[in-house]
Each structure stands twice: as structure tokens, then as C-alpha cells.
Symmetry: C2
Subunit: 551 residues, 2 copies
């Protein structure tokens, strides 16, 4: 426990006992001589004692804790008072504030005593840290205060008051390296009541280089430990940056689409029927009946188009009851979905989606450069590359993609579909040939797509559908949809879905619906692949997979 | 079916039969006379026939459909071509475009023939509509084309080409009333394959005035019919406006919080344990085990604070397995949640939340004035009122709120809690006394709040918690939370929750957590109460309640 109370040592000055000697009557000469000797002895002893007492008093005085007000554990904050004292952010500290006294709340990242008179603390707020120095000084910082500060458990939350000092040389252990804080007060706001599973410093160290077999024993154990103690793991500067980027992706997604006349919708996750595609759905006990968790907002967003919403997007959880324990599958993830009416051709959607991704990539690089840099330190990776300039994003047809793989030696008969391994291989080939980590594959075979996909006008074995790729992994799947009820019912039956089981969906098209298309993006996949985090769980706050429902 | 093909009438000109008569030998004089008479008769008949034939030819020529290219059903759009012809929005049409030819996709809201030569159509896009006129004209608009247009089923989607004409007088039946469109081409993009359950015009009519008993038979049937056919119901101008406002609220929520240093998080809806509060949770089959649907992001957002995120918000679905069939309960709704570390006092959060609501109210009024006006037409309501100016938002303590009700005659012993009826009564009293529809109640009794609520520093029967109200209904509940693991475990036990059942949550506080507070807002409630829609289902795209999982 770090929350030990400061020990108050009251002054223990004891006045030396001095007693007047009483004169006896008629002593002998030798007696007198003896007495004189004794008196001399006593005098000397008294003198010595007095001297000692003086020394003792001096020493005691030196140990009086004149700093008791300046440190210690604060009472539990129940909003007892509101002094409205300004508090600063570490990131805002600059050499120009030299000499100013500031107050801030921070974590103790490290604490290191130098002798008994000096303590160095590294104070942390999110992605920022600063060095703080506590140095014994008369009437200000007592030895007791220094001892208490040196004993603070790391990850404690403190309220620190100090004077900003321009640092003579850059402090490399802190992100704000050009100043340090000379502490005048240090109080504990919240201590730890348990042992840290690992330190934030340890958790922030660079990962071992990626290997082809990504689930090596060493790494998996490490990730699981992190995830089991996610609250501590999330405190690393890396993770603080990762989730600022996650926020950024959502923000940029909305910003772009708001500018294109889209509105945000919220569709229900509880569904009356288990439908849509072959993917398994979770069943929910619903009062006396049952319900199912939506595996995407597909049906709802298409119904919104039939309801004249024209252009909609949704950011929300999607659920997949697939027992896949891979680096890129979770049972719950965030879908960035959109759907829009088209005027002439589904490439209107595909091009808008491309514009969306370019907007995201450019803005992330510009506005989140320092966060990306922070993540790079732990997850070294080549910078994510995409094509700018007049030639635009690389667009391959499915056939062309297959040909590239065949040329590289993959047997054509293996390529009715492009599986995960071949996807990655294609990503490497494309990167080598076209110098891009981002590309689009258009015109997937109809057999690979769900029943609501519009077939090509000329070749019914091909569909008006596309996937988008980052670093050789699919991050978006989309298509023109069937907006004609008759063709839709026909394609349902063709895929073994009973149209009667989806009547309210089918009705939406019987009531007239414009031609439309859209796509679904996996938020965590984009984040993982942009930063090359190598495991999707790192891109999710509290990930869920077949084996994990906690924390 | 509205998708009847245009009937092509090929010219049916039949040349009149003319035959030369052959002369016989030796006829008698009477015979000659008779013959002459007959010849004269035949000549006249032939003359008449020729004249008739000429007339027939003329008539047939008049009925040739010279407009076949200009109307009819288009083939199913499978992205066959991409002519890249510009299309316009109805809202963008202005008198300054007089004489311009434009192309647009729209719904047929109404279609009315005037004689056989003129058809008036009301064309609709979302909240906008314009009058279109189809008028028979040689070589341009044929009678057949007019007949076909007059027969278009309402709610069909058409591609209309026409010339913009400044309207001599404002057309009241259209939202864009200062122009009309003189159609030159009209094609069917998507017709109906079923009977409309009701017309969008009917669904857009003003609601009967609100009664105290809100579930009158008439209204309930009406709402159910709407919800059963939600795709058509959502097409009303009212609903198009309602969901633009829903989008607006989410946008303003994020805009305000982004500006205050918050980041957006996404927490899992699948939970390992059924926890948090007394509210019932839905159980999910999770592979060989079970999971539960989160009834709020409460635990996750607090854990994000323990993980140093400082200020977080989340917009996402929350699930309540409560069998409540009222005007304001759903089993799934959208929570606008936030949580933030506090420096000194929980009123920092309460004041930020107040600032958030004022930002939302002001911006909605400013930026969504026309949408609010559109909704008012169907749902007449007093304008939503809040206090501006130096005195700020009305803040009452729970005790003060109780006193207001007691003064109005409510027995004090009924007011351990303020139930829904008394909430509404309080709302009316506050409106009468303070002229505001928006106020805050602070300092709720501890007994009414969940275990994670921080008690008042002086009176442990009272808590550092607040509710926000709009028109006498709660729309936000929030508080300072307990950030100390020992006190938290104690309060859990006090409310009958086993701390062991929530160990990963409790661990977050054992690992050090700053003082913090937050709140949860019901998106649909804010929307319903701001617009006075009287039933929360109207504020949800596809509402879910104990009896409704479709559409």
C-alpha cells in the first residue's frame, strides 16, 4: 500500500536536568578535597550533558517535519470543496513558463530516490510525461516528505504543485523534455490496492518483430496478459495514441459523409429473425420468445433507402457468432456502414468510398502524426502507402487479381475465391508492382456474394461488387444491391433463403426503392492495418472473441 | 402494377380499294340507264370511301405516338451505362433557373389528370416537393404519354426531365412553390409491387391533439399501422425531418464534446456477467456458454477513466429487458454516454452537461429551424423553452423539488421518490413558475441511486447525483462515481451485489482511478421531448419493445 500517512514527529526536546547542590556542615579537608574533585566531575558532567542536550535539541529541531501540509494522502474526494484552482496539462508546459507555479494531476510513472534528499519522479498524463524533482529544502521540502515521495507506488495518482524550470538539457525519459517541475507539494489522490500485473513502462516496450506464424507462444501469452489486465495495458502511451486514432477514424468517416449529404441512422441490433447471410448469429432470450443479434445493419440501411433517406451511415456494433480464433476476427466489432441511392451506376458508390478512404488516410497522416509516431515506437512498420495523383487508386477486377496470383505461381484452380493467404500474397505483389498498400478489387463472382448483390448486366456469374484492401487484408465489402423485389426473392431462393422469412425486408422493395449500393467497413481492421498492430484485439478497447467476454 | 409498357400504335393506314370497271357487250337502253345510275352510285360511294380513307389516315396519323422515347418503364438498373448526366435536387430549384432543362429522380406523391391533355404530378424528394406539369404538345408530349403518366401509381420512383418555369403564383401544395417543372420526359425507375398500406399524404396529416390518457385506442392503432409499415411511414416529410434532427442531436453531442477534449470509445455490448443494477438484462447464447447484453456502457466507460482516457463519450445501443409497455420505454435505445475525470467537484461534470444541452438546444433551433417547422405541422407543440441569460439553468435540489410538489398538494409521504406522474406535475409547476421546459435536479437520495454513486460528503443518505429534465420527463441521469475500491465493494454489498461477480470492474479501481463522474442521455427521449412527439417509438427508426421486433 502506497497510501501510508506521513508520520509526524513532534519535537522531542528534553531540557537537561540541573539541580542546585546543598552545603553540608563541617566537612574534613580531605573530605573537601574529595568534594571539590566530585564537584569538578559533576560540573564537567553537567557541562557535557548540557552540551549533549543542546546537540539533541538541535538535532530534534532539524527533524521537525515542517512540510506536513505539503504532502500526504488526501481524503477521498467526495466533492467536499471546490477551491477552483487552475490545473494544467503536462502537454501545455513550455520553457516560457519558467518560474511559474503550476498544479496538475498525474500518474506516477516512475519514482527514483537519489540519496535521502532528492527524488526524481516521472509524471504521466495520457501520451505526455514530464520529469519532476523533489529536493529537500529548509521550511519547504522536508526529509520526511522526500522519503514519502520516494515510497509512492508507481501508477499512483498524485496532485503535484511545482515550479516550472527550463531544463538545461533535453530530458529524454519524458515527452516534454525541455522543462522539469520542481515540486513544492505532492499529495496522493488515488493509490493502488493491489499489485500491478506489469508496469506501464514494460507494456510500452517495442514488440518483437512480426513473424509469419503470428500466434507464437511468447506473443500470445503476452497479449493475453495485457487483455486480462486491459485497464493497465490501455494506459501505455501506445494505447492512448491507438485510441485517439480510433476516435479519429470515426470522426473522419462522419466528417466526410456529412459533407456529402449523408445522415446518421441507428438501426436495431435486436432482430426478429436470423437472416441475411450464412454467417452465424447469436440468439437472445426475448421475454417469452427469442431474438437474434444483427450481424450487420444491412437490412435496416437498405430499408432506410427504400424510405427515401437517400444517403445514410451508421457506426455501431455488429455481432458474429463465428468460432474463429484468428488475429483478425472478433465476435463483436464496430461497423462503419453506409448506403446510398445511385443515379446511374454503382461506381458512384465505389468512388465515394474511395474518396472517403483517401480523406481518412490523408487526414490521419496530417492530424495524427504524433500519435502515429508514438505507436511506431512500439510497433515498427513501414508507413502506410496509397496512390495520390491523377492515376488514382488502383482498381483491379477480380479476374485481373486472379491473373496476378496465377502469374506468381498460384494454381488457377485454387482461385475460385481468394483466401486469406492469397489475399496477403496479392497484397505483397501489388505493393511490389504498384507501390501501394491500398487498392480495390471490383467485379467479384456472384457465387461469392450474398443474395442482395446486383448481378452484372451482361454476365450473370459476375456481380456489381467490390472489396477494399489495406496491406493485403480486406477492410471493406460492398456492392450495388438488388432493389427489385422479384429479382431479390429469386436470388434469395437461389441462395437457399426463404423469402417469407424476410417479409418486412422484401416489402420495402415492393413499395418502390431507388437503385442503391453501399459498403461496410470494419473500424478495428482499418485501425489495425493502418498502424500494423498485427492483432485486431489491440484495436478494440475491450475485445470480444469466442474465448473472451471479460473485462 | 404501375409499370405498364407504353403501347405503340403503328400507323394503320389502309389505302382505299379502287377498281377499274370492265365494259360488257350490247346492253339495252334501260340497262344502260340502270348502269349509269349504278355507276354514279358507285362513283359517289368511292368518292365517299376515299374521303373516309383520307380522314382515317389523317386520324391515324394524329394517333401515332411520337413520344415513345420520352416515357415508359426503364429496364432494371444493373449499372448498364453511365451517361453522367447531371441530376438536380428539388430543393435547389429556383425561379432564376427559368427556362433551364433539368433532370431529377423523385417519388410521385400525387398524380392528377386534367382532361386527356394535361397531368399534374407532385414530385417529392425527402422533405421537398415540386409541382410538375405534363401537357400534350405535337412532337413532344403525346396523348399516350399523358395517359401513361396519369396512371402512374403514387410512390413510384420516376426519372423526370423538364423545363423549370417560374410559377405565376405560389403553389401551396409543394414546398418549392415558386417554380414548376414542365415535363419533357418521364420514365419509371421503380414501381410498386404491392398495395400501399396508406398514402404518405395521409401519414403526414396533423395528429389529433394529445390527450392525458395517451394510449387511446384510435391513436394506438394508428401508430401500430405506421410501425408495421415503417418504410412508408418514414417517407413523410415529418419523419424525414425528425430523423434529420436525430442526426443533428448526435452531431451536436459529439461536436461539443470533441471541443472539450473528449474522445469517442466503443465498448462491448456482450458482457460476461449480468450486473450493474437491478434492471433486467437480456441473456445471449454464447457458443457453449452464455453472455448478457449491456444495459449501459457504465462499467466500460468508468474503466476507460481508470485507464487514463480522462474524458470519453460513447453513442451506442443499450438494452433493457423490462416488460414496460409505455410511451417512453423501449427494449433497445441509443445511449449518449459520457464520463470524465473531475479535478475538484462533481459539479464540473454537471455544468459541462448543462453546457452540452444548451449547445444542443441553441444549435437545433438555429440550424434545424425548417425541420422543426415541418414537424410542428404534424405535431403542434409549444416551442421548447430554456433559460438563457446570467441566472443560467434552473437547478433544484431533490428536497426543493419535493417541496414544490408538497406545496401543490402532493402528500410528502408519497415523495420518497418522484414517480412519472409527479415528474410531469413538477414539470408543469416549474414551467409555470420559472418559464422553462429544461431544469436539473441535484442531490438525489442515496437509496434511489445505483451502488457506484458517490455519497454526499456530509449526509450519507444523500448522493452526488443529478437528473436532467425536459418537459417534465427525465432525459439524463448522472453522478459522481465511487473511485475507491473499498467504498465501492462496501456499497455493492449494501445493494445486494456480490463484489466477486464484478471483479474486473472492481480491479480497475484497485489499480488507481481519478475522481470522476458522468451521465447517460437517452437520444430518442431528447428527440421526442424536444419535438413533443408524444411516443418514443416515433423517435426511433425501427423501434423495439416487448411486443415488437419487426420490421
Amino acid at each position: 500500500m502506497a497510501d501510508s500517512e506521513p508520520i509526524q514527529n513532534p519535537p522531542t526536546v528534553q531540557p537537561a536536568a540541573t539541580e542546585g547542590a546543598e552545603a553540608p556542615k563541617g566537612p574534613s579537608k580531605s573530605e573537601l578535597k574529595k568534594r571539590a574533585k566530585e564537584e569538578e566531575k559533576a560540573r564537567k558532567a553537567a557541562e557535557k550533558a548540557a552540551k549533549q542536550a543542546e546537540l539533541d535539541a538541535q538535532k530534534a529541531a532539524a527533524e521537525v517535519d515542517y512540510a506536513t501540509e505539503f504532502y500526504g494522502k488526501l481524503p477521498l474526494n467526495k466533492s467536499q470543496s471546490r477551491p477552483r484552482r487552475e490545473r494544467v496539462q503536462i502537454a501545455a508546459l513550455t520553457p516560457s513558463m519558467d518560474g511559474q507555479t503550476v498544479l496538475l494531476r498525474a500518474r506516477v510513472q516512475t519514482s527514483r530516490a537519489q540519496g535521502s534528499k532528492m527524488v526524481f519522479l516521472n509524471l504521466r498524463q495520457r501520451t505526455d510525461s514530464v520529469q519532476a524533482l523533489l529536493s529537500v529544502a529548509p521550511e519547504k521540502v522536508s526529509k520526511q516528505m522526500a522519503k514519502w515521495a520516494a515510497g509512492l507506488q508507481i501508477e499512483s495518482i498524485v496532485l503535484a504543485e511545482g515550479v516550472v524550470k527550463k531544463s538545461p538539457e533535453i530530458i529524454k525519459s519524458a515527452t516534454v523534455g525541455d522543462v522539469e517541475l520542481h515540486l513544492t507539494q505532492l499529495h496522493l489522490i488515488s493509490g493502488l490496492e493491489t499489485v500491478l500485473p506489469f508496469t506501464v513502462d514494460d507494456a510500452n516496450r517495442p514488440e518483437p518483430p512480426e513473424t509469419e506464424a503470428e500466434d507464437v507462444q511468447f506473443k500470445r501469452v503476452l497479449l493475453d496478459t495485457r487483455l486480462n489486465n486491459r485497464v493497465v495495458d490501455l494506459r501505455t502511451q501506445t494505447n492512448q495514441a491507438v485510441f485517439k486514432l480510433q476516435h479519429g477514424i470515426g470522426h473522419l468517416f462522419r466528417e466526410y459523409l456529412d459533407g456529402k449529404g449523408f445522415i446518421e441512422i441507428h438501426s436495431p441490433k435486436l432482430q426478429g429473425a436470423a437472416t441475411e447471410s450464412g454467417a452465424s448469429v447469436f440468439q437472445v432470450s426475448y421475454f417469452k420468445g427469442k431474438a437474434f443479434l444483427a450481424q450487420s445493419p444491412q437490412l435496416a440501411k437498405q430499408m432506410a433507402i427504400a424510405a427515401d433517406f437517400e444517403r445514410v451511415y451508421e457506426i455501431g456494433p455488429v455481432f458474429r457468432a463465428e468460432d474463429s480464433n484468428t488475429h483478425r476476427h472478433m465476435t463483436e466489432f464496430i461497423g462503419l456502414d453506409l448506403e446510398m441511392a445511385i443515379e446511374e451506376h454503382y461506381h458512384e458508390v465505389m468512388e465515394l468510398l474511395d474518396g472517403l478512404f483517401l480523406h481518412m488516410f490523408r487526414s490521419l497522416k496530417q492530424k495524427y502524426a504524433s500519435e502515429i509516431e508514438t505507436v511506431r515506437k512500439q510497433f515498427p512498420a513501414d508507413e502506410f502507402k496509397w496512390r495520390e495523383g491523377p492515376e488514382g487508386t488502383l482498381k483491379l477486377s477480380f479476374k485481373e487479381a486472379v491473373n496476378i496470383l496465377v502469374e506468381d505461381g498460384v494454381p488457377r484452380e485454387d482461385l475460385d475465391d481468394i483466401d486469406t493467404t492469397n489475399e496477403k500474397r496479392l497484397g505483397r505483389l501489388v505493393r511490389a508492382k504498384y507501390d501501394t498498400d491500398y487498392f480495390i478489387i471490383d467485379k467479384f463472382p456472384m457465387a461469392l456474394r450474398p443474395f442482395y448483390t446486383m448481378p452484372d448486366p451482361e454476365d450473370p456469374t459476375v456481380s456489381n461488387s467490390y472489396d477494399f484492401f489495406m496491406r493485403g487484408e480486406e477492410i471493406l465489402s460492398g456492392a450495388q444491391r438488388v432493389h427489385d423485389a422479384t429479382l431479390l426473392a429469386e436470388q434469395m431462393r437461389g441462395k437457399g433463403v426463404d423469402p417469407a422469412s424476410m417479409s418486412s425486408y422484401l416489402d420495402a422493395f415492393k413499395l418502390g426503392c431507388p437503385p442503391h449500393g453501399g459498403g461496410g467497413i470494419g473500424l478495428e481492421r482499418v485501425l489495425m492495418l493502418f498502424l500494423k498492430l498485427n492483432n485486431i484485439r489491440r484495436a478494440s478497447l475491450f475485445p470480444r472473441d469466442p474465448k473472451r467476454l471479460e473485462p
